[in-house]
């Protein structure tokens, strides 16, 4: 067969499309739609979930995430500054912290704080505090690195100019460098917020009372109650309700920083 290069490319692409279409058709024919619909899209079950899935579960997911994020951001900033410090022990502490908390699963942190602390000191922390610390400790490790990169990305000239105006090093950091750094790291920080949103489901480990249920736990609980997978699907979709706008926000911010340059 003598096909020109372009013809051959077209044939190959045609075959690829064909395979794709065939796969979709086979899937559509083979899948048991009745079963799937019964399991995932049971309207009656879905109705029963509202409004609690919004007023309790969604609200709690957002609450846990924000608590963790807020604490993590504050700690992350401190760690980033420590990491950039000229005092060696500060740097060592920061590096050790970051490597440790970035390296262990968030799950372990939840267990350590939720069960380890009460066993060790015989005080049970408030649930919200435990969540804030657990998510925050892990989030801080990631955010510290992001913020550090942001600080380092601010041109040296900015510090030099500030110093030549008579500002102290700390003053220059706070008023000149950090505000600019945050502008740079806003998009990656929002990514971290999205990650924390999903990690917040780990709170189930601590044991939840009805008013403390978050989305994942709510979905799984309703799964048991209704013997249907519909609640899981809806809970999953509600995560999108939180994360999709955040993703949109990241893109907007990215576009804005690009323009500002």
């Amino acid at each position: 067969m003598s096909l020109s290069k372009r013809q051959r490319a077209r044939v190959i692409r045609g075959v690829q499309y064909g395979v794709l279409v065939l796969a979709v058709v086979v899937f559509a024919l083979v899948a048991d739609w009745h079963q799937l619909r019964m399991a995932f899209f049971d309207v009656e079950v879905a109705k029963a979930l509202f409004p609690d899935i919004i007023t309790t579960a969604l609200v709690n997911t957002v609450l846990y995430t924000l608590l963790g994020f807020g604490f993590g951001l504050a700690l992350g900033l401190v760690l980033a500054l420590m990491r950039l410090s000229s005092v060696p022990p500060y740097r060592w502490i920061a590096v050790t912290y970051i490597e440790f908390f970035r390296g262990i699963p968030c799950l372990l942190v939840f267990i350590a704080l939720g069960f380890g602390v009460p066993l060790a000191f015989e005080v049970a922390l408030d649930m919200n505090v435990t969540v804030m610390l657990s998510l925050g400790l892990v989030g801080a490790a990631y955010m510290a690195e992001t913020i550090r990169a942001g600080i380092q990305a601010v041109p040296k000239g900015q510090t030099e100019a500030a110093r030549s105006l008579g500002m102290s090093h700390g003053r220059a950091m706070v008023s000149i460098v950090i505000p600019q750094a945050f502008r740079i790291v806003l998009p990656p920080l929002t990514n971290e917020l999205i990650l924390l949103t999903k990690d917040s489901s780990l709170v189930y480990l601590l044991g939840l009372s009805l008013t403390q249920f978050e989305l994942a736990n709510f979905g799984r609980d309703a799964l048991n109650e209704h013997k249907s997978l519909t609640p899981i699907l809806i809970a999953g979709l509600l995560y999108l309700v939180i994360t999709l706008p955040l993703g949109q926000l990241v893109r907007r911010l990215e576009a804005r920083t690009a323009k500002a340059r």
Partner: protein, 265 residues
């Protein structure tokens, strides 16, 4: 099984036949013909949710326990080996694990309830269970009502949870994903008490003398082994094994091995 729910099964069977490229004539797939079909031939797959001592517990890299020994009798009768599949309890309880063919049967210290009976078929009862209350030693809680204003922990999707919800007016109920977390929460004081089946709680108290079982609620519960709805061939085999074990003393021997006493009844 109703005619309506039989349709999808046929559809799936047909789909599988299409997918597997007509490798063989469809000899299997028919139920109730007396032929026993296992999810994977040569092994009897048991769904359970670990840990649930002394019914199922990991020891030296193997899952052992009362349920395990009992199902081993069934496996022996069938001439196959038992393989334990650890899966979340909700997957067992909702019948999903049977639907997606994770295992042949579920032996998970599971109480026979009308709700569960709808999504699976149960063997004859093989164990009498009651709910019990676990607290730190020296606590005065004798019944669920005593816990008003206090925290009571239960395990997700268990009958203990249902009991607690029914009787626990004014009690702050806290849900835990599995037994281990629930027990630790009682021990660490996160909750004032925990409710679960007596067998497991007594086993825990033996190893944790700073905790105590303060009450038992006779809820008239019986454990059963679950199989996929309509899998009568396997269900009959299980019933036969339980019956035989009870009559020839094997059941008492296994019971003594795991609970240290002989069953009263």
């Amino acid at each position: 099984m109703s005619a309506r729910s039989a349709l999808p099964v046929i559809a799936v069977a047909a789909a599988v036949a299409v997918l597997s490229g007509c490798s063989s004539t469809t000899s299997g797939g028919k139920k109730g013909s007396g032929g026993l079909e296992l999810v994977s031939s040569g092994t009897l797959k048991t769904c359970t949710h670990l840990p649930y001592a002394p019914f199922q517990v990991k020891k030296d890299g193997k899952v052992v326990g009362f349920d395990v020994d009992l199902v081993d009798l069934v496996a022996k009768d069938l001439g196959v080996k038992q393989e334990i599949v650890n899966t979340p309890f909700e997957g067992i309880e909702t019948g999903q694990d049977f639907t997606i063919r994770t295992c042949d049967l579920a032996a998970a210290g599971m109480t026979i309830t009308p709700e569960r009976d709808k999504v699976m078929d149960f063997s004859d009862p093989y164990f009498n269970a009651t709910q019990a209350l676990l607290t730190k030693k020296g606590k005065p809680f004798k019944k669920v009502e005593d816990l008003k204003g206090k925290k009571l922990g239960y395990q997700k999707a268990t009958t203990g949870g249902i009991y607690a919800k029914k009787h626990g007016k004014g009690v702050e109920l806290v849900e835990f994903e599995d037994l281990g977390l629930l027990l630790t929460a009682v021990k660490s004081g996160q909750v004032d008490a925990g409710i679960n089946d007596n067998g497991v709680l007594f086993d825990y108290v033996k190893q944790n003398p700073d905790t105590a079982v303060t009450a038992e609620f006779n809820t008239g519960e019986h454990y059963g082994i679950g199989v996929r709805t309509g899998n009568d061939a396997l269900r009959k085999k299980i019933n036969a094994a339980i019956k035989k074990a009870k009559s020839d003393g094997t059941y008492d021997r296994i019971y003594k091995k795991w609970f240290g006493t002989t069953p009263q009844s």
